[in-house]
């Protein structure tokens, strides 16, 4: 099990995956918005999305949990 974390503080702009989706390593799972920039967050591992922890519009801090991959 791997938890994908945020690189930096920001707002969750888009969630690109749903629970049950199969993802590949390197695939973007969430796009954050920070300082007027869109920051894609990719998963480093492939697997199945077990849990989406954040919702679009949420404000999150750096190191916050975003998505759980199994």
């Amino acid at each position: 099990m791997t938890i994908i974390k945020a690189d930096m503080a920001g707002t969750v702009w888009k969630v690109l995956v749903q629970e049950g989706d199969i993802v590949e390593a390197g695939q973007d799972v969430v796009i954050l918005e920070s300082m007027k920039m869109e920051i894609p967050i990719a998963t480093e591992v492939g697997g199945t999305v077990k849990r989406v922890i954040v919702a679009e519009g949420d404000f999150i801090n750096s190191e916050a949990d975003l998505v759980e991959i199994e």
Partner: protein, 447 residues
């Protein structure tokens, strides 16, 4: 003069405006979002009012909230700074209708220059050279291809309502244009609420040179020399200087003449900037007009001794310009760099707490900065946290001073673009004055 001015902005520019107001004995009203409660502009203003939540749509772009504070505080004028509502014609109009003075040109002029296609037409009528291209909106991609083939690739695809490089793309082939058209149109629609696109010929390795003008309400227009702002990354300016190291005195005078003609033709008042592209043969072409104070205005102040915010306030107050083209002298060379809270390698934003800040001081060193030790840089706004401006008797002296000052700039807790700035300003090509808009890609990123 005004008794009380509301500043509808944040960060370094809000502090900059407050400073001139204090000098002139004018009281100031700050507005701020929940994220900026501890900001320096809030502490430095005579009065401060919370206007909403951190996202700009709920605070700094909330016209109702800002106008309400203006009425409640009894402000007799509003200074919009740059960005945010500064070029929003609807806001300017609402301020005018509320019987408050908008520090800037009339809402009609802002509207006319806000559409790049309209601005092209207007400038052509005024006899100002424009880049070869179309003066009508392009309806679909097939029409775009036809026009591009007529002009000849490569071409610049642009959004009429665009700004900050959004909705704009250089395309080399029909295939690239077909790929780019819809995406840029959508981006322009979502950012500016207007997806109108047009096409201009691409000028290879141009310089971006802009002319500052001041215009009072009595038809006097004074050009305040030029600024060279060619060093850009993703169409955002990074390093700006005055005078331009590139243009000849003959070109300078022609550009100043064209700028006066342009400002008079549209009935411009207040401080404004006319941006031009200059090709390798020193031909210049109108790009757009910024109907507000520019981020890089300090370099003009350094070489002329003018306080441009003071000039703006006096013009809006109905005073006659106290300078003329003949009386205005320039002296020395000034360079500004924009300090961003961002990773200098990956260019990712770097919000966080500034644990320690020590600004190098000295002759000819000026800081315009929004933060101090202990300040929190939040992820809600533009990553620019400040500007460093240096002045030297010559460009060489200014370059040396800038590099030394950047080396001694201590900022801890967040990452900044200072290593990148240092890489640029110490580059032999920069020192030589070879500054085209391709500089960052060609000389900095490729090394």
């Amino acid at each position: 003069m005004f008794k009380k001015v509301l500043i509808a902005n944040r960060g370094e520019i809000a502090r900059r405006i407050i400073r001139t107001c204090k000098k002139l004995g004018i009281e100031t009203v700050a507005v701020y979002s929940e994220a900026d409660a501890e900001s320096l502009h809030v502490k430095e203003a005579t009065e401060s009012y919370l206007i909403g939540k951190p996202p700009v749509a709920q605070s700094y772009l909330n016209m109702d909230a800002i106008l309400e504070v203006a009425k409640q505080s009894g402000a007799d004028a509003i200074h919009p700074g740059y960005g945010l509502l500064s070029e929003n014609a609807n806001f300017a109009k609402r301020v005018e209708e509320a019987g408050i003075v908008f520090i800037g040109p009339s809402s009609d002029v802002i509207r006319a220059m806000g559409s790049k296609i309209e601005a092209r037409k207007t400038m052509e009528q005024a006899g100002v050279p424009i880049v070869q291209g179309v003066n009508n909106p392009i309806s679909d991609v097939d029409e775009a291809v036809k026009i591009a083939e007529n002009i000849g690739f490569p071409v610049m695809l642009k959004a009429s309502a665009g700004g900050g490089g959004i909705g704009m793309q250089l395309v080399h082939t029909e295939e690239e244009l077909r790929k780019a058209f819809e995406g840029n149109q959508k981006r322009a629609q979502s950012f500016f609420g207007d997806g109108t696109m047009f096409i201009e010929k691409y000028i290879d390795q141009p310089h971006h040179v802009e002319v500052q003008v001041l215009a009072d309400k009595y038809g006097n227009v004074v050009p305040v020399f030029e600024r060279e702002c060619s060093i850009q990354r993703r169409n955002q300016k990074v390093v700006e200087e005055a005078p331009s190291p590139f243009i000849s005195e003959e070109t300078r005078q022609k550009m100043l003449d064209a700028s006066v003609k342009a400002a008079k033709h549209i009935g411009y008042t207040n401080a404004g900037t006319i941006e031009f592209l200059v090709d390798s043969e020193q031909n210049f072409y109108f790009l757009e007009m910024n109907t507000r104070l520019q981020v890089e205005h300090p370099v003009t102040e350094e070489i002329t001794g003018l306080d441009l915010v003071e000039q703006q306030l006096k013009i809006s107050n109905g005073e006659t310009l106290n300078v003329t083209r003949e009386s205005l002298k320039r002296n020395g060379h000034a360079i500004e760099v924009r300090i961003y809270a961002e990773d200098p390698v990956r260019f990712f934003p770097s919000p966080g707490k500034i644990t320690y800040l020590q600004l190098p001081e000295g002759d000819g060193i000026r800081h315009e900065i929004a933060v101090e030790s202990g300040s929190e840089v939040t992820p809600f706004y533009d990553p620019m946290i400040g500007k460093l401006i240096v002045f030297g008797k010559t460009r060489e002296e200014a370059c040396v001073k800038l590099a030394n000052t950047l080396r001694n700039y201590v900022i801890e807790g967040i990452k900044t673009n200072i290593p990148m700035l240092l890489g640029i300003v110490t580059h032999p090509q920069f020192i030589k004055g070879v500054t085209t808009t391709n500089f960052v890609e060609e000389y900095y990123l490729s090394k």
